[in-house]
């Protein structure tokens, strides 16, 4: 896929620390990026930091760090539970930024902060963008801020070199895609099915066709998430897209068997994805 450097591509530390670069590096090797989701403060604060570091070492190219919110209405049971546990453990917006700062001191993998709008709104939008950048974030994804919902707020979020990651859904109409892509940078996140987050057995059969259609409409790399739960699925998605997002399946593994098992799970995804492409 031919693509120019997206506007606003974040690069906090060195020129290689950007989301665009992470996608380019994999593409040059014929591979897809692996993008795990970690909920700040789950299962504990320190364990979530360990998971971030472990994920980076297991071959994650970009990390999504979730800021827990009391009303995660786009999330299924797994992320809801993780969220509530994190909040009960005292996680806050500031706490998540501190966690990111500690991670950034240890590893250079780009991080997308993943949040609902209200905690950011309450923190102060401009203040948050500055703090996120200072803490070492490269991107921002706001679940309940679809493109065009609040143009002035969106432009404030996209400032200061943070990539604004946008979601596309199977229900998104074709004529809306360019509008979404216009304000986005880094990559586009394609929700592989209607519904909330959560691991699923089966992926949509039409996924390849849908991604193909999207590629004809936009230049940004396209990562796919929602429901990816096994190395086989990750390999399948890697075969048709530029990136694989895995959230609930990782959290389920961590809940069941601990952080190390979570990291091993990511390594198994990485291996399956690379086998697919090589």
């Amino acid at each position: 896929m031919d693509q120019t450097e997206p506007a606003g591509g974040g690069s906090a530390v060195g020129s290689d620390l950007s989301i665009a670069h992470a996608f380019r590096a994999r593409r040059d090797r014929g591979q897809a990026t692996l993008i795990p989701y970690v909920c700040a403060g789950h299962p504990t604060r320190d364990a979530s930091l360990e998971l971030l570091v472990g994920a980076a070492d297991a071959g994650a190219d970009v990390l999504e760090l979730g800021i827990p919110f009391s009303d995660p209405l786009a999330d299924g049971p797994t992320i809801q539970r993780a969220t509530f546990e994190a909040l009960e453990g005292g996680m806050t917006v500031r706490g998540a930024l501190d966690l990111l700062r500690e991670f950034r001191a240890a590893r250079r993998t780009p991080v997308v902060l993943f949040s609902y709008l209200n905690p950011i709104h309450r923190f102060g939008v401009d203040h948050f963008v500055t703090a996120a950048r200072e803490a070492g974030a490269q991107g921002l994804l706001v679940t309940d801020l679809p493109a065009g919902a609040d143009p002035s707020l969106e432009s404030r979020l996209a400032r200061e070199g943070l990539d604004l990651i946008r979601l596309l859904a199977p229900t998104t109409s074709a004529d809306r895609v360019p509008e979404i892509a216009q304000g986005a940078s880094g990559f586009l996140y394609y929700i592989s099915r209607t519904g909330v987050t959560g691991a699923r057995e089966a992926l949509r059969e039409s996924l390849a066709e849908e991604i193909g259609k999207l590629r004809s409409l936009v230049d940004l790399p396209i990562a796919v998430g929602f429901g990816i739960s096994s190395p086989e699925q990750a390999a399948l998605v890697a075969g048709v897209s530029d990136g694989v997002v895995v959230g609930s399946a990782l959290l389920d593994t961590v809940d069941r068997s601990g952080v190390e098992a979570g990291v091993r799970f990511l390594a198994s995804l990485r291996e399956a994805m690379d086998r697919e492409r090589s």
Binding site: G76, R94, N118, H121, R122, A149, T172, S173, D175
Partner: protein
């Protein structure tokens, strides 16, 4: 619904205003945008289709029992020490509250959009019952989400919904009340959006819901305005209604917003008192924030986490409020006051004994304001109070609170 990415043009953008001043908007996951666009278009078309209007009017008359009476409450006047006081009797509607005005309208809209599956959230159960009723009438599948705590305190309404053929799904996450039931309804909608219409129960949620619900409820104020003009030959000096999400209040206020001399008073639930932190007074004690798709006043902590609401009445137990109320507060057009659990319970008894009308606990908040503060705070002239619902559903709950044990 047309498919997706490979789908067709959804039509013109923003065919109706999505905000009230800065409030409102569409802060939802991307998956819902198309459904909201389609709803906006379907609603705009329905509003200009005389067949839709006629069918709605016929059903409101023959099935709901409209127009609802305007009743002069003379014994209440004696007790309050002023008057005249008029009660707009939404409690006499079929299913016992104003909620049915909206559910009949939205069910007609859903049928028009070809959606045969309906979901709803409910707090007190009144909206759930009204939705289940409309679904029975139109032969639609109906799933109602209800917080576990509300399932407990409104057991009668749970059974009513089941009798009407609805499936009630208890919601055990978060605070287990209306807020979480709404989260779960939105999750269902995100998942089943192509086959399902979400009949939201109040003037909340993403655009165009706050406007649609207000418009379907506006029949309350429209009728009441004409009724009071007929008997009093003048407009009321004040219009009073309780506010949780705020649909009966918005429906009553709407016809009077342009009448600058009519005071609009919304009564929120002060729970155990505003200073206790256990209340539902979003407008009095909240700050603007984003929940359930719109920007509006919201009870929240310093970190932007939504704070649990509290009220003795399940229908007011909600940390948010409709965005148009936030706008009316910001512009000063409406005034919002609050009444605590204890005063509401007293008013529940007083109206029952004075007028032979057992009000819903939600409505009792508005009655309490009128009784306790009306004389001091309101200008002379007739007052209009929206008696939004009847209290049958609350009888067991109140008996339990007052130590009479379980009577059901």
């Amino acid at each position: 619904m047309n498919k997706s990415i490979v789908g067709s043009d959804p039509g013109p953008k923003e065919i109706m205003e999505r905000r009230f001043g800065i409030f409102g908007g569409r802060y939802v996951p991307e998956t819902l945008i198309r459904a909201l666009d389609e709803l906006e278009i379907a609603y705009a078309e329905a509003m200009t289709d005389p067949k839709f209007g006629n069918e709605l009017d016929d059903l409101l008359r023959d099935f709901v029992g409209r127009p609802s009476p305007l009743y002069r409450a003379r014994r209440l006047e004696l007790e309050a020490g002023w008057g005249p006081i008029y009660l707009k009797r939404e409690d006499l509607n079929h299913t016992g509250a104003h909620k049915i005005n909206n559910t009949i309208g939205q069910a007609l809209l859903a049928r028009r959009m070809g959606k045969a599956r309906i979901i709803a959230e409910t707090g007190a159960g009144q909206h759930g019952v009204a939705t289940a009723t409309a679904c029975a009438l139109f032969d639609m599948e109906c799933v109602v989400y209800m917080g576990e705590e509300d399932v407990e305190r409104q057991a009668l309404n749970v059974y009513r919904m089941q009798l009407l053929g609805a499936e009630v799904r208890p919601v055990g996450s978060g605070t287990k009340t209306l807020k979480d039931a709404t989260n779960e309804a939105i999750r269902d909608w995100v998942t089943n959006v192509e086959t399902t219409h979400y009949i939201i129960g109040s003037v909340v949620g993403p655009a165009p819901f706050p406007r649609i619900v207000r418009d379907f409820q506006a029949v309350i104020g429209k009728e009441a305005r004409a009724q009071i003009l007929e008997v009093e030959k003048r407009l009321p000096s004040a219009v009073i209604a309780c506010v949780g999400g705020g649909s009966n209040a918005m429906g009553t206020f709407h016809a009077f917003v342009e009448d600058a001399d009519v005071a609009l008073i919304g009564v929120e639930a002060a729970g155990e008192g505003l200073s206790s932190g256990h209340h539902s007074a979003s407008l009095a004690a909240g700050a603007p924030g984003i929940l359930h798709g719109s920007l509006s006043y919201l009870l929240q902590d310093e970190d932007g986490q939504v704070a649990p609401a509290h009220s003795v009445s399940a229908g007011l137990d909600y940390p948010g409020v409709g965005p148009e109320h936030s706008y009316l507060k910001a512009t000063g057009r409406a005034r919002y006051v609050s009444v605590d659990d204890q005063s509401a319970l007293e008013a529940f008894h007083r109206l029952s004994r004075l007028e032979g009308i057992i009000p819903a606990l939600e409505t009792a908040h508005a009655v309490a304001y009128l009784l306790n503060d009306g004389r001091q705070e309101l200008a002379d002239g007739p007052a209009l109070l929206c008696l939004s619902g009847r209290g049958d559903k609350d009888v067991a709950h109140v008996a339990r609170i007052e130590g009479r044990g379980s009577i059901l």
